[in-house]
């Protein structure tokens, strides 16, 4: 049982529930304390040690049902099961086990008449008689679920099913499993019976179809358990390298998940540091003054309180057609970092500019971004947008402010108002310009990027998630 607990934990890990070895030990303790008799109790108990958030708990419950619910094909229904592990576990969920088993045997194929028909047919067909000799057909005919379950497990090992990586491999592995089970005999018999026009043909075909279906289900389940996590990991890797505006619409929600994951990673990397820096030094004058009352003994120490700086981030995003997709991801990232980042104020512009921070208070990040796109989208005018920004926020920009501008700097040949950007540059702690275009095309055509760049502390190309993550990582370092 312990080994099946360990392989269950493997499954959890492939579904992105992080389980440490210590937690595995805890899980073993829990299982031995609670015993294996009450399925629901065991499930709740294991959930408490293995799942650490409500989301993980949902994944856990799903995996638990999938994994321990494996009653291998419907061959492996309860009865006098002697096979160890999953099958017997699965049964405990149903208190009506006895009636289930009874029903199963009642509806199950009564082997005798089929057996007779087939034996008769086998006299005329050597392939069928060979098939009748095989243990596979024997098990099928007698509906021997335990033996089938064992054979299935054996075939899975031979086919190397646990190495399955991608969903495209399902067919291939199904075939390998069937071969390992000895389906060849059935196929031979079918061919031969077809040629001789034997009446036993449909019966054999039915057995073949049942077998194939079971194997397919088995492979499908194994895929969901083991390989799905791997192929998701693969997907994530690809997505984080793709240009953000090339990402297909169907993958958008995946990207959002990915961003949240990255944000969590960055948050946990940066949060403790901020706290440490807040610690003060010894405030000698006050300590001395306090000591006077105690005859000059300075046991009551007073610490200089760290000046509470309020770093502030202003995000200014171009939401015109060409850049909107990137703005969306930047904002999503920034707002996913609420826990560690200081207060973020966001502004959106294309022809004019407005503050959009309150959208994020009232709506979820996705909805807010949709609304903003609708309200501010249009032809870009950097000059007037910068003017708007200056009148809205210039007074709030001081040496603790980080301003992030996201835009392609394509100004449709309008007045760039570089002077405004320069004054922002002088007042702020840092001004970062993120441009989704590649560095080579900066300054070409109507792009004012080279001029704007001169008034930035830092400018960078930013068009996929990896770059975005790196930049925000730097940002977090520098705002502390």
């Amino acid at each position: 049982m312990q080994s099946s607990l360990v392989s269950f934990i493997q499954v959890l890990r492939s579904h992105e529930v992080r389980v440490s070895p210590a937690e595995t030990l805890d899980a073993v303790d829990v299982a031995s304390t609670l015993g294996y008799t009450d399925r629901a109790l065991l499930r709740d108990g294991l959930a408490m040690t293995l799942a650490k958030t409500p989301e993980e708990e949902a994944i856990f419950l799903q995996c638990f049902d999938d994994f321990f619910g494996l009653d291998l094909a419907n061959y492996a229904l309860p009865s006098d099961t002697t096979s160890p592990g999953q099958a017997s576990d699965a049964n405990t969920e149903y208190p009506t086990e006895g009636t289930d088993a009874a029903a199963a045997t009642a509806t199950g194929n009564d082997p005798e008449p089929h057996f007779e028909t087939l034996s008769k047919a086998a006299e005329e067909s050597p392939a069928l008689s060979a098939l009748m000799q095989s243990s596979l057909m024997h098990n099928l005919l007698h509906n021997d679920r335990n033996a089938m379950a064992m054979a299935m497990g054996q075939a899975a090992r031979e086919a190397g099913l646990a190495d399955m990586q991608m969903f495209t491999q399902k067919g291939q592995f199904t075939r390998r499993m069937l071969d390992a089970l000895g389906e060849q005999h059935i196929r031979d018999a079918v061919v031969e019976l077809e040629q001789s026009g034997n009446p036993a043909l449909p019966l054999v075909q039915r057995y073949r179809d049942v077998l194939r279906e079971q194997v397919r289900d088995y492979v499908e389940r194994e895929y969901l358990l083991h390989a799905e996590g791997r192929s998701r990991q693969f997907m994530d890797d690809i997505l984080s390298g793709v240009r953000l505006n090339n990402i297909e619409h169907v993958y958008l929600h995946k990207v959002q998940e990915l961003i949240r994951k990255m944000a969590r990673k960055l948050a946990s990397r940066h949060s403790p540091r901020r706290r440490r820096q807040k610690r003060g030094q010894l405030n000698m004058p006050r300590t001395l003054r306090r000591g006077i009352a105690n005859d000059g003994v300075m046991f009551d120490l007073h610490w200089r309180r760290a000046r509470k700086e309020k770093p502030q981030i202003l995000a200014v995003c171009d939401v015109s057609g060409s850049v909107a997709a990137y703005a969306k991801f930047l904002l999503l990232f920034l707002y996913s970092l609420q826990d560690v980042l200081p207060k973020v104020r966001s502004f959106a512009f294309s022809s004019h500019l407005g503050e959009v921070s309150n959208y994020f208070e009232d709506y979820s990040v996705e909805e807010a971004i949709e609304l903003i796109n609708r309200k501010y989208g249009g032809a870009t005018d950097y000059g007037s947008s910068l003017l708007d920004f200056a009148s809205l926020a210039m007074d709030d920009i001081n040496s603790n402010t980080t301003v992030i501008v996201l835009g392609d700097a394509r100004n449709n040949h309008g007045e760039p108002r570089l002077d405004l950007l320069q004054s922002i540059y002088q007042r702020s702690k840092q001004l970062i310009w993120l441009n989704p275009e590649s560095r080579r095309s900066w300054g070409s055509g109507d792009s004012e990027m080279l001029r704007y760049q001169s008034a930035c502390h830092f400018s960078a190309e930013c068009n996929n998630l990896k770059q975005l993550e790196r930049i925000i990582d730097q940002l977090l370092k520098s705002t502390r």
């Binding site: 829990v30 108990g45 948050a267 946990s268 706290r275």
Partner: protein
């Protein structure tokens, strides 16, 4: 705490019954968590929305076991001097003043500074001994002879450093005091940590705990809770009011009403001698359930329908 001393916690069913006798109706899962925590000597990290009975769980466990409940309320800036121990500076100072005169006697006949210091060394660190130690909740819980329930409330409000401070206590049930050494728990206390999820708890802390998430209860469970807490409410009203609260939780509210609010509301309805929900009655008592003006306003628009819905359901429930 040794399992044999506390037959109340011998099995999950017994815990459930024990809690019920103290007026705490819990789901099977909660009872399982308490059982496991007790058997495996692990702390429980209880998470869930405010007002679902997280703190109450610790209190009831203390009642059930008849052990003292030691509570540490967390807040930003909580540090070891307030959570673990503090030296009794005043007492130390007083004693030094009083003993000053003794100093002359002690050092009599000593030649030179070196010899005087030598003599002083013989006395050891009398001022940093257990007598001068002021135990704070965590240390106090370790010192209890017969075990205790330690409740570390709203851990998410504390700082990250404080979490790290807890790690030693939670995994080994001991506290290191530099001046004295390691203080081991006389009897392992049972520890409950609660969190409202305002920030993520560090993995190191989570790993040491059993993780219990208490969601809002199901209708059936909540009715049982009301029956136990406000026994005088009649069955029809109880069903209606619980249904109503559940339909409120479906709405997008700033703060959904929790069990404690349901109980308060049931009490208020009882005081008003209501025997079933009426729209006007609900409107005038809505402020017991909802704590934000926006929530009340957004709910009031649809109040009539919601009340009618609940009454219909309870009626069909009775006939069916």
């Amino acid at each position: 705490m040794k399992p044999e001393d506390f037959p109340q916690l011998a099995s999950v069913q017994q815990i459930e019954q024990g809690f019920e006798s103290h007026g705490y109706i819990c789901s099977r899962k909660i009872a399982t968590a308490v059982f496991l925590a007790f058997q495996l000597r692990k702390p429980i990290l209880v998470e869930g929305p405010p007002g679902v009975g997280k703190t109450e769980l610790a209190k009831t466990t203390a009642l059930l076991l008849g052990t003292p409940l030691i509570r540490l309320q967390c807040y930003e800036g909580l540090d070891e001097a307030k959570a673990l121990y503090e030296w009794k500076y005043g007492k130390q100072l007083l004693y030094t003043q009083v003993l000053k005169e003794k100093l002359g006697d002690l050092l009599q006949g000593a030649k030179g500074l070196a010899e005087s210091v030598q003599r002083l060394h013989q006395f050891g660190d009398i001022f940093y001994s257990e007598d001068f130690l002021e135990p704070r909740p965590l240390l106090k819980a370790m010192q209890q002879e017969k075990g205790a329930i330690l409740l570390i409330d709203e851990i998410d409000k504390s700082d990250y450093e404080f979490e790290s401070l807890l790690l030693e206590i939670l995994s080994d049930y001991q506290i290191s005091i530099p001046e004295i050494g390691t203080v081991k728990a006389r009897t392992t206390p049972m520890v409950f940590l609660t969190s409202n999820n305002t920030r993520d708890i560090s993995d190191a802390l989570k790993r040491r705990c059993l993780h219990l998430y208490i969601p809002f209860p199901t209708v059936g469970l909540e009715e049982r809770i009301i029956r136990s807490r406000v026994p005088n409410v009649d069955e029809r009203l109880r069903h209606q009011l619980v249904e109503f609260v559940h339909s409120l939780r479906q709405l997008d509210l700033k703060k959904a009403p929790a069990i404690s609010e349901t109980i308060d509301w049931a009490r208020s309805l009882l005081l008003l001698h209501a025997d079933q929900l009426e729209t006007e009655l609900v409107r005038s008592t809505l402020n017991v359930l909802l704590k934000f003006e926006e929530d009340i306003q957004s709910t009031e628009a649809n109040l009539g329908n919601m009340v009618r819905e609940c009454r219909k359901e309870s009626a069909s429930g009775e006939t069916g």
